[in-house]
Symmetry: C2
Subunit: 454 residues, 2 copies
Amino acid sequence: MADQLEQLNETIELLSDLLHSGQDTEFIESFESLHDFEMAQVYAELPAQFRSVAWRLLSDDVLARVFDNLDVDEVDIVTLLQEMPPQRGARILQEMYADNAADLLQEMPARLVATYLSLIPKDEANVIRKLINYDDQTAGSLMSTEYLAVEEDLHVDEVMRLVKKQALEAESISYVYVLDSQDQLTGVISLRDLLTHSDDLAVSEITKDRIVSVKAGDDQEDVAQIVADYNFLSIPVTDDNNRLLGVITVDDIVDVIDEEAVEDYSGLAAVNVSQINDTPWHSAVKRIPWLIALLLLGMTTATLISSYDDLVRRASILAAFISLITGTAGNAGTQALALAVRRIAVGSEQTGWKDFLSEIVAGIIVGIATGVSVFTIVAVWKQNTMLGVAVGLAMTMAIIVANLAGYLIPVVIDKIGFDPAVASGPFITTLSDLTSVLIYFSVAQLFIAHFVGG
Amino acid sequence: MADQLEQLNETIELLSDLLHSGQDTEFIESFESLHDFEMAQVYAELPAQFRSVAWRLLSDDVLARVFDNLDVDEVDIVTLLQEMPPQRGARILQEMYADNAADLLQEMPARLVATYLSLIPKDEANVIRKLINYDDQTAGSLMSTEYLAVEEDLHVDEVMRLVKKQALEAESISYVYVLDSQDQLTGVISLRDLLTHSDDLAVSEITKDRIVSVKAGDDQEDVAQIVADYNFLSIPVTDDNNRLLGVITVDDIVDVIDEEAVEDYSGLAAVNVSQINDTPWHSAVKRIPWLIALLLLGMTTATLISSYDDLVRRASILAAFISLITGTAGNAGTQALALAVRRIAVGSEQTGWKDFLSEIVAGIIVGIATGVSVFTIVAVWKQNTMLGVAVGLAMTMAIIVANLAGYLIPVVIDKIGFDPAVASGPFITTLSDLTSVLIYFSVAQLFIAHFVGG
């Protein structure tokens, strides 16, 4: 990674030098020899005065590849586009893959979107406009409208001619889609099959009619799971009448899998880990709301403990085990939570009650094993068997409850239609602090006569 | 997801019926019309008595596709292979992509591996043997040896003829690699460029010599990052002399990204979430070691608190805020931990000291904001300003320390060469319980004269 960064900086310096010394042809040649991803990185990082020369020198096609490969979450892509006159920006948007152009326009204020779209030929503007309207995180928002499609009843050589003609525009050339006269998707031909069969074969012989497709409104996480399972390089997106709307390519699926993983991870930690390059101030400001919210929940636990003040006065040793019980139960709850969130994410067989019982049994086993350990340690250490019984019993019960909460909360959140990843580990631990303390002091109250020397 | 499962069960029933009624030709036809992933699912789930008929009917090629698409982590793939005579199993291994065959053999006891390899032609056995020897989670363990390669100085039509001839064997046909006489990788040609240029063009004109490749020993996570950044469909793997060893295809990268995400998530929760279909007993047995280990760490905190017994006797109100301070500091530590692990995972600019200072500043801001909140609540609720000061000050200091620990621990683990994901959230919270309690009681001791009446 460090090497890559170094290499990038060297390239930027080299290209800046070429521009500085007026070696325009050499600049264009060097720039175009880069990979698309590198072009994008370099372009975004060029000093502004050189970038304003660069876009004058580079072709629309090359700039379209640059903007296709800029990450809207990492770079202020709108400002980069606005460095050029609107007409030029519009030409680049038009050259870009429609899905990327739509993503870029979604970063702009509405007024600016209207300006750019008015400068793009009507047909292409309409394609982009439609893509903008798909909800975020759906198949529609990911799909590209530049795909290879042919009608039925052709031969291999005819299809290959079409493929060659359209190959430069299409975002993926791995599959050719077969459409009937109503634009309905009736089959898929792989490029591999086209290449390995003779020219005069009817393509119907190598067309797969067992099509795996998704609907435009499908959740991106489900689409990613299908592409990952089937090892597809792209997947077609259709409307409710099975008309082909676009295709989603595997590079977008790679991004989705990463994005969803970051979401789950962030949820578990109660902090958004996707913005790792924030300033300390911004970073702190984003963490504080969660902490304060959990603090208020934690205050109820403090209130509860202070209501047991008499008990603590009678047996100050009880204070020693508060953090042990809340901490351990919180850990058990976090484990149950993570397992439940993962189970929901991979769409594991949701046989409801079986899952539920299974988790209860696991919680009981974990609770008893831990409770017995604590009993042994306390009984030996404090030479007080009944204190050990009280703490061990409280531990077992607190773990069973925390475990159940860790399991149930994401399941319920999922059932009412939210992303279960919002049920964070810190929320579970803070909530289980309350239940654990309640259990602990209730048990202690029952046993106090036995472990406090009269 | 539920639909898919239902569809799968229907297909299994249908195919079982065909076998039951002796409609062999219809069975073969239906089975072969499935997607490779579906074939694999169906084959693994067929009732055993039907599977023993199925493998007798299906060709080596089809069975190789079945075994190529079985997930070694989910299915007992070795048993499935052993249902056939060794000679047949060896033929299937030989037909499979070498990387998948190597993965399968790695699941077997050494004796069995030797048997199968002895039944495979020497050259191919050697290829598989080499792949088996690459360390898990490296580029070498992921790569396929079936790629398209040509020598320099050819024309488009000559290369296309080679592509067509080798297309069925190659795992990816998106790129053709150019090798010199020493098998060193000198360039890459995309199939798209081959299709869109005229037959008589020298391929040197469309060969990219700016090659992005990885070494066989490279960590799979780094490889995945490169493929994701560059939107590659495959990436070449070379040895230290730049000789081409194999290619890694994007479908394997998708699996790596998922696997690494699961690892990070599991680490944060201190539980392995990849085995979500365990029995309650197995599930519990896997969670218990972590809980007991953390329990022992938690016992040191309990010991520490009990050493402050006098203090608690003098001011039992102190017990009320133990879980509030340990809990909140633990939450802050978890946030810092998650951010640090993520920062390391994406290989963000590791400017060491800058990162460190930035996290300290963020921790101080978070600590002060939370401490002031607690002070206000306690001072108002308990009508005791000095108690508020003590609890608020302790909270601020406990958060700053927990935050720092959450940041430093994964960074140090990474520096000494381990996966930072092993630094779990529960470990941080349990550790910070200890530091928080120490800080809390030290501060309380300083202030006790001011907030205890009398």
